[in-house]
Amino acid sequence: MQLPDWWQTDPCQRFTLGPREIPGRIWTASGCFGYGLSGHDISSPEFASPYDGIGAVVTKTVTPQPRAGNPMPRLAELPCGALNSIGLQNVGIDHFVSEVLPELERLGVPTIVSLAATRPDEFGEMTRRLHAVAGRYDHWHGVELNLSCPNVAEGGHDFGRSAETVAACVAAARPHLPDRCLLAKLTPNVGEIAPLAHAAVAAGADAIAAINTVIGLEVDLASGQPLLPRRFGGYSGPAILPIALAKVDEIVCEVGAAVVGIGGIATSEDALKFFALGAVAVQVGTAQLRDPFATAEIARELSR
């Protein structure tokens, strides 16, 4: 693509986010690149690896205990996007800290750890666990609090819809991240996102990650029943791009916070739209599932 004149940033250069330098501005989104370990045996004629040019991998969300996730089917492809209901299947913080984090370090993957919990103090506990081992991990750059997953029964999306809860979770995590960045990932399934963003920033978040998936439902016509066992799922992909842009604009205009834009990015044009509104970085989700080099390709196309 022909880059517009106003775009003069090199997204593959380090930039400062809170107390940390992050290697670049084009990231993979949580849940869409596993824990960040699955790309090393993948190559293409154009890229040595899917990590080329990627500023950070946001891991699959990790919870205090391992979670089995939801029953199948967990995915529904729609004409302009997808519904998912994975249900935060993950190995739990213990296994993550003992097995996954060392491997990410060994492989040199720039990592943001995504965390979810049902009580603010659990966020404190999990970040404390990370802090305790922080000295060993140069490639671990920060934490993203997932305050917005629609696919879990407790906590999850209802959880992150009140400013008080958002503030409490951020406040619980902040003290354990003296030199790592702290992002709060917010749900778009609210009337106004700005008050939540304001609460997160006031409590110490370095940036807002927006958006998580939009609540959606698909019906199986033959049976007349919802296709996913939990009825609704999280809507992602190109269809939600305009919704994500509106939420990011709301946060930038009303709160002035640093925002990492997420939602519907499939091309470098899509990513540029977030930067045009003032986002400091972006994350690629569903498109990264379709093609392991989607994020790398956007990073390359946006490089000046």
Partner: protein
């Protein structure tokens, strides 16, 4: 899980060489990838179209064969993606990401192998049969009727069953009934152990697993699940496993079909929870 990765996973751009029906319901796609690719029988690739036809999720298809730079698939039109795929003419671009997942293992020394393939479940076992077949091994293919069977692929000793004994080409032979019943009809479980390899629709896999269990035979099945990524990063394709007592399994009873599968030991699968739209 079985077999394991054979070399690197590659994301390539393929050009359609041929995309033509080889039976009433089955289409063979030959893609030129511009460079040689190797695979193990049972591995698959994620395919997608480009431009406005590009699908939100790529689609998994088992690899039928690789000859030099050309990789081949066998598929049936079932929905939007396969309908679009069927419309691609020679020269069109199809993205390829593979080979992915595990594979069916080479034959064991100590027992004959029985292959049960149904419909588009043929590619993994066709590839296995071409690569590994020995005199005592048996291969069964099940189709809908004589016209549905891809006869050209089944020359080397395949036995064919059909749901309806109609539209049989001259000289072709087929048994009427389900493919597992054909096997059961010919082989008795008392003749000693056999390794059963099955791929096809879920009812076939269940029946194969049940038959093997009767004779205490080992059985490997290749299962299908909806996939988001094909490379183990989304957890969208999980297969429910029976708890083994092992600590991790107890909390995570699911294995990814794309990375830990698609080939699983039949006795590890929780068949009750494995509910597929059949």
């Amino acid at each position: 899980m079985n077999g394991g990765q054979s070399g690197n996973r590659l994301r390539l751009t393929g050009h359609v060489l041929a995309n033509t029906a080889i039976s009433s319901g089955l289409i063979r796609l030959d893609l030129d990838l511009g460079r040689p690719v190797s695979f193990a029988p049972g591995q698959f690739a994620m395919l997608n179209l480009t431009g406005p036809d590009s699908l939100v999720f790529s689609r998994p298809f088992s690899i039928l064969a690789c000859e030099e730079t050309v990789v081949s698939f066998l598929y049936r039109v079932v929905g939007r993606g396969t309908a679009l795929l069927a419309r691609q003419e020679p020269g069109c671009v199809v993205t390829f990401f593979g080979p992915l997942g595990g594979s069916f293992p080479p034959p064991p020394d100590d027992s004959p192998v029985v292959i049960l393939a149904g419909g588009v479940g043929l590619p993994p076992l066709y590839a296995w049969w071409r690569r590994y077949r020995r005199g005592e091994d048996r291969a069964y293919f099940g189709g809908r009727d004589g016209a549905d069977v891809p006869w050209s692929l089944l020359e080397e000793g395949w036995r064919v069953s059909v749901d309806r004994l109609t539209n049989l080409p001259p000289g072709a032979e087929a048994w009427e009934g389900l493919v597992v019943d054909y096997g059961r009809h010919e082989l008795t479980t008392s003749d000693g152990p056999r390794l059963v390899l099955a791929c096809g629709p879920a009812p076939l896999l269940r029946a194969a697993a049940r038959w093997a269990a009767e004779g205490n035979w080992p059985c490997l099945v290749s299962v299908e699940e909806r996939m988001g990524c094909g490379y183990g990063v989304c957890n969208g394709c999980v297969v429910p496993l029976l708890a083994t007592g092992d600590a991790t399994d107890a909390v995570l009873p699911y294995a990814t079909c794309c990375e830990e599968g698609p080939v699983f030991a039949a006795e590890r699968i929780d068949w009750d929870a494995f509910a597929r739209t059949e």
